[in-house]
């Protein structure tokens, strides 16, 4: 169980199912209080030496006023994108990866927010599905938060699985770095739910991925949900191009394919570490001793730092070839990379985002 300092509940949400579940599951010693308006509670604790870190330990149960469904914030016409749709049911994450983009993205509202009216999202999803019944959509909850962290308290996954299992052209992707899968094992996804894990070698896990489950536990959890009827996928993202990275990532793929037959994996994604200079500065301030934040990244045309092109293309290609050699053609895509890099790695022109999205939803 992740640690919280306090749980703040917006008064109008106090009687919601979500608030009651959370209050019922809070460990003793965690302060719970109600407030009229959550807007102040989500702001950074300016007096703290690490406002973002403080925000992670303050859970705020509140209403979401904006739409839940949105295009992936990483999407851009400059990149060969995957057509991923994001369902924002929570904001921020109790884990603390040194490279996480949320350190910049949520710097002004870092509290760990969970939205008590999350079932309102179902209306948005039904509208999406009904609007294009011929298309398949892949919708994920793991962009602005980890999909399963705190699921033992919120049990959101149960409602989500129930909803998606009855929708033919919607696929839910639960993206996580945890092994919190207990709620999933008791539900029937009917092929409509995919669980995906970010996978990193032990060196990256130890240096960067604080409070996450070890890679071996993530693979074991993936095996368990696969056996329970879920589709599974893996994100090698961020790939960090440290010295020895190629050897470590290939070894990780071997460990993965030893546990999970490649043909059982719906897709893999890859994306090297990318940071705006602002994110890099924030990350270095919070994790000054992390060597993974001092790699050979250079500034690209889109204003982000990435491993210089030959280094990262080589790494992508090595991983793609290893998956190929493992014996199955696993659908793969690159995150936040232009079409030219995609062509270098896979040898073909990437399809349009909507087509890729459709393929991944059906993979």
């Amino acid at each position: 169980m992740f640690e919280l300092d306090e749980v703040i509940i917006e008064r109008r949400c106090a009687e919601t199912v979500l608030a009651r579940r959370i209050v019922g599951a809070i460990p003793s010693g965690v302060l719970v209080r109600e407030i009229d308006d959550a807007r102040e509670a989500v702001l950074p604790a300016r007096h703290a030496s690490d406002p973002f870190g403080v925000g992670k330990r303050r859970m705020v149960v509140c209403r979401r006023k904006s739409p839940f469904l949105m295009a992936c914030p990483a999407g851009s016409a400059k990149f060969a994108c995957c057509g991923y749709l994001v369902l924002a049911l929570a904001s921020n994450c109790p884990m603390d990866c040194s490279y996480c983009f949320l350190q910049e993205y949520l710097a002004d509202n870092p509290a760990f927010q969970v939205y008590a009216n999350y079932t309102d999202a179902f209306g948005e999803l039904d509208k999406l599905a009904a609007g294009s019944p011929e298309r398949s959509f892949r919708v994920g909850t793991g962009e602005l938060a980890d999909s399963l962290a705190f699921d033992s308290m919120t049990a959101m996954s149960r409602d989500l699985v129930e909803f998606f299992s009855a929708r033919e052209n919607l696929t839910l992707e639960l993206k996580t770095k945890t092994s919190e899968i207990e709620n999933l094992l008791n539900a029937d996804p009917r092929g409509r739910v995919m669980v995906s894990w970010t996978l990193s070698p032990d060196a990256v896990f130890r240096a960067c991925e604080h409070r996450t489950a070890p890679p071996a536990s993530r693979i074991a959890a993936a095996r368990a949900v696969l056996d329970a009827g879920y589709r599974i996928a893996f994100h090698f993202d961020p790939l960090i191009a440290y010295e020895g990275a190629e050897r470590d990532y290939l070894e990780l793929i071997d460990r993965l394919t030893d546990s999970i037959p490649p043909e059982k994996t719906s897709f893999v994604s890859m994306g090297t570490l990318r940071m705006t200079p602002g994110l890099r500065a924030a990350a270095r301030r919070r994790f000054p001793g992390d060597p993974m934040l001092c790699g050979e990244e250079v500034l690209g045309r889109d204003g982000r730092l990435r491993a210089f092109a030959p280094l990262r293309i080589r790494l992508y290609r090595a991983l793609a070839e290893r998956f190929k050699r493992a014996g199955a053609e696993i659908p793969a895509y690159l995150c936040m990379e232009p079409a030219s890099i995609h062509e270098r790695v896979f040898g073909d022109t990437p399809a349009k985002p909507a087509i890729i999205g459709q393929r991944l939803a059906e993979a």
Binding site: P288, G289, A309, P310, I313, I341
Partner: protein
């Protein structure tokens, strides 16, 4: 930064008469090298390749510039090696005057910029012919930019 490292950097800054911006750059590079290699900045500054520049005979500004370039090569060792290899390949092409190849800034992309300067059709024809003749070498450069080699 530990006291020994501060003293070592101050000594270098005085020897090379580093400007404020150069000191900031050196501090950042030293800090990141120290994190990457888990060694104190004083140990980095005592390396032979840097001592040679610091104690060298050139002008202060020239040595300051060379010092920062060398420090940057230590900070980005694989980028420095890849850039050097690509520059050597370009140089080996011996392209005629009016034809030049430019590597992407800091190898941030995989695209090569090829420039032709021509004053008349004959010059243009000669430049294109020279490039066509060197296509094998150019392909090797594209391969290197694409992480092969």
């Amino acid at each position: 930064m530990d006291e020994g490292s501060r003293d070592a950097l101050l000594s270098v800054a005085e020897d090379l008469r580093l400007r404020t911006g150069q000191i900031v750059t050196a501090l950042d590079l030293l800090d990141e090298i120290a994190v990457r290699e888990r060694v104190p900045p004083a140990a980095i500054l005592s390396r032979e390749e840097l001592r040679r520049i610091i104690g060298g005979s050139g002008s202060g500004p020239a040595r300051a510039s060379a010092f920062l370039i060398s420090l940057r090569s230590i900070r980005y060792p694989r980028l420095a090696a890849a850039t050097e290899e690509l520059r050597a390949e370009i140089s080996a092409l011996r392209l005629p005057r009016g034809v030049s190849l430019k590597l992407p800034k800091e190898l941030g992309s995989d695209e090569l910029t090829i420039s032709i300067q021509a004053g008349n059709p004959a010059q243009l024809e000669r430049a294109v012919a020279a490039l066509t003749e060197k296509i094998g070498g150019l392909a090797r450069i594209f391969d290197l930019l694409g992480g092969r080699g």
